[in-house]
């Protein structure tokens, strides 16, 4: 249910895997590569992943969501490797009977993935500079 993908994320296929006649609600989150971060123009970025632990921790987060919220299905995929502006970095989808739990679980999953899963982002700027993004929490520029 949690995975790391080195290829373009195919949201529609992921979503189809969540089809369920009991479900009344699907909430999805997509994280996209922005053209600006802290005032710097971004050209592309790279995600580096510690795969063994990222997969375990991602899976744990989905299990927590399943326990905490009354949901039916859930999927999260995170990209690795190089991405251009506008490309999808992460996809989260959650289904439930009523909509409240799907919203809560989707937000929980993306919050926890960003805080806990060992993935690091290096930004390459139009100026030619590049750098590892320092820390979401410190810099308060979570998307």
């Amino acid at each position: 249910m949690f995975s790391i993908s080195s290829e373009k994320i195919m949201a529609r296929n992921l979503q189809d895997s969540l089809n369920n006649p009991k479900a009344g609600a699907l909430v999805t989150f997509e994280g996209w590569v922005r053209n600006l971060n802290e005032g710097k123009e971004v050209q592309f970025l790279e995600y580096e992943v510690y795969p063994a632990l990222a997969n375990k921790e991602g899976q744990r987060i989905l299990e927590e969501a399943q326990e905490k919220f009354d949901i039916l299905g859930l999927v999260c995929v995170h990209r690795s490797g190089g991405l251009k502006v506008g490309e999808m970095a992460v996809w989260v989808g959650v289904t439930s009977v009523h909509r409240g739990p799907a919203f809560e679980a989707c937000q929980y999953i993306i919050d926890e993935v960003k805080a806990r899963v060992p993935i690091w982002k290096k930004e390459h700027y139009v100026s030619g500079d590049s750098g590892w993004v320092e820390c979401h929490h410190c810099a308060q520029h979570v998307h």
Binding site: E48, V49, L53, A89, V90, C135, H136
Partner: protein, 81 residues
């Protein structure tokens, strides 16, 4: 007592170390001592309290005793998503 430890480096630590993995012999009793040793040698800018540590692909405490063949990863603040 000396143990043989495998280390993997990611992100800023990989850049600062100049390689992504190494195996070394150390007298460090735990990950905290090991990081101190490596930080002195390579000048890592992140301090131990900025990092988490994993042994054999599980998060663990800095005080867990190291054992020969352990795989250690120091984990800089994560920035996925």
């Amino acid at each position: 007592m000396t143990s043989e430890i495998h280390i993997q480096y990611f992100a800023i630590l990989r850049d600062e170390r100049g390689c992504s993995e190494e195996t070394l012999s150390t007298e460090a009793k735990n990950a905290a001592e090991l990081y101190e040793e490596l930080q002195k040698e390579h000048g890592f800018r992140l301090s131990q309290q900025d990092l988490k540590v994993a042994i054999n692909d599980e998060f663990t405490s800095w005080q867990t005793p190291l054992q020969t063949k352990d795989k250690v990863v120091f984990i800089p603040p994560v920035t996925g998503g």
